[in-house]
Symmetry: C2
Subunit: 205 residues, 2 copies
Amino acid sequence: MNFSSKLLENAVTEFGKLPGIGQKTALRLVLHLLNQEHSQVSKFTESITVLKNNIKFCKNCHHISDAELCEICTSHKRDQSIICVVEDSRDIMAIENTHQYNGLYHVLNGLISPMDGVGPADLTIAQLVNRAENTDVKEIIFALSATMEGDTTIFYLNKKLNTENIKISTLARGIAFGGEIEYADELTLGRSITTRVPYQNSLTK
Amino acid sequence: MNFSSKLLENAVTEFGKLPGIGQKTALRLVLHLLNQEHSQVSKFTESITVLKNNIKFCKNCHHISDAELCEICTSHKRDQSIICVVEDSRDIMAIENTHQYNGLYHVLNGLISPMDGVGPADLTIAQLVNRAENTDVKEIIFALSATMEGDTTIFYLNKKLNTENIKISTLARGIAFGGEIEYADELTLGRSITTRVPYQNSLTK
């Protein structure tokens, strides 16, 4: 693209580094900001700066938090005996939105992926093992993506955790709500047949 | 959405104000920035602040520029006798990318739109009239959107400009390259038939 201003080009380049934002979208966003009041633009940039400088990660579960411990870990209403292991904070928000889970979480900050150079030491696995051994945990749920990396991570964690007294579970796989059977992939459809549930059970949701 | 941090919520809200960015995308962008180095994040915010504080608009054509006059207005290679009237700077970039135009521009900074409270006084119409009267302009091209607002603006400008010695033209309307006739709307197709061009002319592009 041909920019009439170096400053404009600079801002568009920076915006274009964000995931899913191409050059054209970046230009549209920058021109939008350029048309805003000065106060609005500084509110925008300050919200990012303040977030980056002051954000904390919960000491216990590594979730994004304003304090040393996050609201979930400090809540007395949550079941302290279940830990749901997730890849990042976004997964916690997604699960919280379902209102179907009332235990604690543990954020791994990624998945084991040798291809991307991410090994077990880069994740918060030691801390999870520590929590499993030193707190009164009865169940650990692996809520990780159904990908090669997710499966590898679950396999590794399962070996690492001393699971004698702890129940280990993973998310149910199957046809999604609203999913049409003819468009489901063979793996999912096959799994959903072999792990079929009694009709009465499927109603108690 | 349920945010675990006020700072995070704040940043997501600010990002969500950008056009075409919803809550989910905003969260993804903010979490991406959160995972970047401090230096990268300050580069991002500074590029916006510097742009907003230092950007200038060309005194002559109102295009975004780093200097008092933009590169197009100061160029000796451009044909000073043609002015192409556009809605905003993005249109200039689009036209420049075609490499088919070698004259000057004039940015209106919007279109007349009574519904949105935008009247002629909000645009740079007076400056355009001034340019048309005081410089040696032979042709003015209206490159405005083919919408109600665009047509209204062209109608108003045509009345305002003293067009005795100036040729006024608008963009050609018709079937777009790659466009299929069966999917073209009646208005466009009808116009493209009534304003059909000799086959030989259509080749000289």
